[in-house]
């Protein structure tokens, strides 16, 4: 119907949704996009990325990791109720949240690194919106057929067949959405247990609510809003645009070899009029999930999914021309090539190729080497440095900590023998998933002794406490000292916690107040 056979290639009747000469003000109704299936290197890469990312998302909570009898055996677990985060061999307490902050810093620098080197690769390949829309499109194509069949179905009156196809499509979408929301909750509780509870209806309400919310967002964002999320809702395109420079990879229409484009290449050639490689078949527009025309130049809507490259390469292959009319290229290379092809300001196709139709060898092809630059090197160095520092900190962090809170009311108590007593609330943090005996001693307070409210130990300068695995132990410790020996005023000293079976120690600086002026 709307495909015209010409020059061994199909010609598609399609227009970019954001054509400059047809731009409408805001509040325009959405023009539905029916992306055609693309085939090629980047499409295969995107299938692979989808397989890996979705695989990680769905499978990760089910991985097991043995931590002994006192900790959960789920490899990745955000245990909000007990305020613990488990990631394989790493366990993080809330006060160690700086590791997560460090990861966020790494993610930020990583964004700089990736964007300055390979452009909006995040948008095009790994963004959940892109991955899920791709998946939804795949379902749509499977059920309703490719672009033309879908356009036809959209226009067709409601019939039993249309209802059936639509039902199957939406049911599949909903199933994917439920699975998406369903997988999310497993990161927050023991996956097998929660799965049983969810199915039997005994899971907590928040689990069902989370599934419901994520189901609806997945269904609406992936099935209906699609490219509008990227164009109107997402701040990422704006932020990323600021990070690109003239050496970043972008999906580029190389008009220095494509223009002037013509739908009637043979006729033009016969007339002796010079033409470029672009046959204006619109294959690049018709496969675009964003519905844009890359030949209009770089634009905010382009998520650099590179499907137009695949489409155009296919056409070039059919025409027997060199690939890369649309390609990943840097702005610097593009400008350089443009200066060769258009010395007088307009593109002269006779410069671009020799008599046999081969491209001029002085054109520069962008290769992977473009990502090796001082800027990207610096980003990588910063990124790696943060990572190494965090790794070092993680490997050398203490799994025993102590916090001390002194009594302020009263600050000190005089005892009948003339000595002074200060009260302290001592918190022992046993961050190991095993029970430990922790000794608490005083350092820097001569002749001072500790007692407990229940008199079960002491007076002594070394007390022992059984710390439960992976728990906080709170004890009230009274410290008494003779100001005649110690001297008046306040005295700095330290509480020292020591693992009696291991070698770990932790200290906490405190003050002993005699209540007497110096």
């Amino acid at each position: 119907m709307n495909v015209i056979e010409q020059q061994n290639t199909a010609q598609f009747e399609v227009e970019a949704i954001n054509r400059r000469d047809r731009q409408t003000p805001l509040y325009a109704a959405r023009q539905k996009i029916h992306p055609k299936r693309a085939e090629g290197t980047f499409r295969r890469l995107k299938w692979l990325v989808m397989f890996v990312t979705l695989g990680i998302y769905y499978a990760a909570p089910w991985l097991r990791w043995d931590r002994g009898p006192y900790a959960p055996d789920q490899a990745i677990l955000v245990d909000l109720y007990h305020r613990r985060f488990y990631f394989f061999f790493i366990e993080i307490w809330p006060q160690e949240f700086y590791y997560v902050a460090g990861l966020l810093v790494m993610a930020g620098v990583g964004l700089f690194l990736v964007t300055s080197s390979v452009g909006r690769a995040w948008c095009g390949y790994t963004c959940p919106q892109t991955v899920w829309v791709d998946l939804f499109l795949w379902v749509e194509r499977f059920v309703e057929g490719d672009r033309n069949a879908r356009i036809k179905l959209d226009a067709a009156p409601w019939s039993a067949a249309k209802v059936a196809r639509r039902t199957v499509k939406h049911a599949t979408w909903l199933a994917i959405s439920v699975a998406t929301g369903g997988a999310w909750i497993f990161y927050f509780a023991d996956a097998p247990t929660l799965a049983r509870d969810v199915v039997s209806g005994t899971a907590p309400g928040i689990a069902y609510m989370t599934i419901a919310v994520l189901t609806s967002t997945t269904y609406v964002l992936g099935g209906f809003m699609r490219e509008q999320v990227c164009i109107y809702m997402c701040p990422w395109p704006r932020i990323q645009a600021a990070m690109l420079d003239e050496n970043s990879l972008t999906v580029t229409y190389n008009d220095w070899r494509g223009e002037p484009r013509s739908r009637h290449a043979k006729k033009m050639a016969a007339e002796g009029r010079p033409i470029g490689d672009c046959v204006d078949c619109n294959a690049c527009v018709v496969v675009c999930p964003m519905g844009i025309d890359i030949r209009d130049g770089q634009q905010l809507e382009c998520i650099t999914c590179a499907l137009c490259i695949d489409a155009c390469d296919g056409i070039m292959d059919k025409l027997g021309r060199e690939r890369g009319l649309i390609s990943y290229a840097t702005l610097a290379d593009y400008n350089r090539n443009m200066a060769i092809a258009a010395p007088a300001g307009t593109i002269d196709p006779t410069i671009a190729r020799d008599g046999e139709g081969r491209l001029n060898s002085s054109f520069r092809k962008t290769t992977w080497r473009s990502i090796l630059r001082y800027r990207t090197g610096l980003y990588f160095a910063v990124w790696a440095l943060i990572g190494l520092v965090m790794l070092y900190a993680l490997m050398h962090r203490s799994r025993l900590d102590i916090n001390v809170l002194r009594d302020r009311n009263p600050v000190f108590v005089q005892l009948s023998d003339g000595s002074i007593r200060n009260g302290f609330t001592v918190k022992i943090l046993n961050m190991m998933p095993e029970p430990r005996t922790i000794g608490i001693s005083l350092d820097g307070l001569p002749a001072a002794q500790m007692t407990l409210a229940d008199s079960s130990q002491g007076p002594s300068n070394l007390l022992f406490f059984e710390a439960e695995p992976d728990k906080l132990k709170v004890v009230k410790v009274f410290v008494r000292a003779d100001p005649d020996i110690l001297g008046n005023g306040s005295h700095d000293f330290s509480f020292v916690a020591q693992d009696m079976t291991g070698s770990e120690t932790a200290r906490y600086a405190a003050k002993f107040e005699t209540g007497r002026n110096q």
Binding site: P25, Y27, D407, R408, N409, P410, V413, Q414, L415, S416, D417, G418, R421, G423, T451, A453, D454, S455, K476, F478
Partner: protein
Amino acid sequence: MSSKEIDAISGTETTGHEWDGIKELNTPLPRWWLWTFYITIIWALGYTIAYPAWPLISTNTKGLLGYSSRADVARELAAAEAGRASVLQRIAETDIAGIAADEELSRFAVAAGRSAFKVYCSQCHGSGAQGAPGYPNLNDDDWLWGGTLDDIFLTINHGVRFDADDDTRISEMPAFGRDELLEPGQISAVANFVLSLSGKDHDAAQVEEGKTVYAENCASCHGDDGTGLAEFGAPNLADAIWLYGDTMEAVVAQISGPQHGVMPAWGTRLGETTVKQLAVYVHSLGGGE
């Protein structure tokens, strides 16, 4: 308006309103916005029917769901009360040593005792039980009436010198000066002797005479060595803690015309369970025997 007027520059329809040659463009709200607005109106109507909303002259509409925030609070209080009931029952049934020995009961008793202390005791003893001149510090290890759990419980339960309670703690030190039982010189001497027991500033020349006066008049209650007797509520005079001050003036004043502190009997007012919790709390402050 009969026909739509289109603004030539923006291509947008006008509302037809014109002020001094300036025409207003008609740019209506997006539809989703408009519909959200309508939905909120419908929601509001439904809400005022379902929940208490409209003020009337002396009352207000109650709403079909019968919701009331006061009833909510009452329900939550009752639930909290019910949650505590079993522990309180066990505290009521357990003797005080048993409470202190049980980890769960003692933790509960200390917490409950702390809040009861803030309400009933802190006015005299201070919010940290640190006391004040004339009001004993409960953190230290000096106890007028004994510092065991049972002693503390008995003191709180029946009070000190509280006439309305027959079992109240009573001690009455004679007013040796006011009632002229001792000469001023003797009082001065015995004061010097008492201060010498704990090494305070004193006149060493009077100590010998004071020792004799002490043995004849004071030792029967305060003990031969001045360490006091908790059974009589007689303070320890040989330690570092002085309820009414450790200066010569303060000690002479206390011998001449003693002050006697009074504490109400709390057993009848708060009930035995609360008094048990108070006793466990005070005992946990660090000085309990």
